[in-house]
Amino acid sequence: MKNKSLISIHDYSKEDYFKIIQVASEFEKNAGQASNLLAGKIVATLFFEPSTRTRLSFESAVQRLGGRIIGFSEASSTSVAKGESLKDTVKTVSQYSDLIVMRHPIEGSARWASEVADVPVVNAGDGANQHPTQCLLDLFTINQTQGTLENLTITLVGDLKYGRTVHSLLQAMSYFNPKFRFVSPKELKMPNEYKIFLDQNNIEWSEHEDLNLVLPESDIVYVTRVQKERFSDPIEYERVKNAYVLHKSMLEGTKSNMRILHPLPRVNEINVDVDPTEKAYYFQQALNGVYTRMAIISLILGLK
């Protein structure tokens, strides 16, 4: 992984996933101790569109490793607003830093940035395309809660059509003999290309409209937000919006090891009465994002 950009979840192998999980676990165990691993290093966080959560998670990771940060959190105050190309911006910033973390609304921008930069680039989201560190922190979290990545039943709930998070997770988990349960409104079903991918890899999957039917067998319930703007018919949205909300009462009869994940931000798809239960794991998942990003940055910089 040394000196190699992380642009897409497809850039990394199963072995790379395990290496990241292992290093992230070390950071988690030593959470209270200050680290100077990144002393003298500068990480640039270039956020061409705002994403407060992701940016703070990366910046927290760099700071916890003792590194320094330069960057911006939205493009309007930069030379991009003056018409500078992405190529020139990235090439220039790569002269100032040891690693670039970039978020950009245009798909494929991260790959392009990695080709023009003189330092490694970590993709923090390129439009609807890829957000690989989210996927890796999801793998870390699943492994942490289940003690394994193998043979799990994973229920994906919500917007399965547009959600890049669930698509990446599905592909990354395909190495580990999972079973998938897809629960979504019919407008937001898992696209066919992913079902074909699962069939080609002999991975069992099924589709459901009723979440209650699949909760008892699930090891992981991964909830995503159903956005009103995805519906062509607002009446249809009103009809289904509450069908995919998880309440505490629904957790009865679920497996003791079952954990609920969510990439956040949450709106109302997980009722707050779930939060105090031991099955709610989305805030730990957010914390794991910091450990996972610490692992990714230090591995790419060859410090681990």
């Binding site: 190309s85 245009i106 392009w112 395309n129």
Partner: protein, 154 residues
């Protein structure tokens, strides 16, 4: 022989040059554009909407005294993967070529995803060819598929 004679009547023979046959009719004019045939001054015979068992309707191009290079052939492969190319010398076929869809292509085709970086900045498009029968290209940048029906040449 009778059939062959009829065909000869439809498209006359050339002495030296290149015959490109089995072009899907709908892509005939794209092939003409790729080979920049409007810019050359030798004799060209173009047949359009000929009956074809394999393709339904096909096109054929006979270009006198011209021999397209590999880059042009690659371009043809993208939109006419079943094209047969005959090199003619003194009215005889001296070489038969089939076009082969490569595993990877650079340039030539535009990514059909309007949100792809290649449609915003001066980036040479790059694709992995993920299917060669119905040619499907996966953009190395945005990772979206551009299918044969949406090929737009650069």
């Amino acid at each position: 022989m009778e059939n062959k004679d009829l065909k000869e009547l439809k498209v006359s023979a050339i002495k030296d040059g290149t015959v490109i046959d089995h072009i899907p009719a709908k892509n005939l004019f794209k092939v003409i554009s790729i080979l920049e045939l409007t810019k050359i001054d030798t004799q060209i015979t173009i047949g359009y909407n000929f009956e074809s068992k394999k393709l339904g309707k096909k096109g054929i191009i006979k270009i006198s005294e011209k021999f397209p290079d590999d880059r042009d052939l690659n371009k043809i492969a993208m939109i006419a993967p079943e094209a047969k190319i005959n090199i003619i010398r003194d009215y005889a076929v001296v070489e038969k070529k089939t076009v082969a869809v490569p595993d990877y292509i650079e340039g030539i085709i535009r990514c059909m995803n309007p949100k792809c970086i290649t449609n915003f900045e001066k980036v040479v498009t790059r694709f992995d060819v993920i299917s060669k029968t119905d040619v499907n290209l996966k953009c190395c940048y945005c990772e979206k598929i551009t299918d044969q029906d949406h090929f737009e040449l650069i």
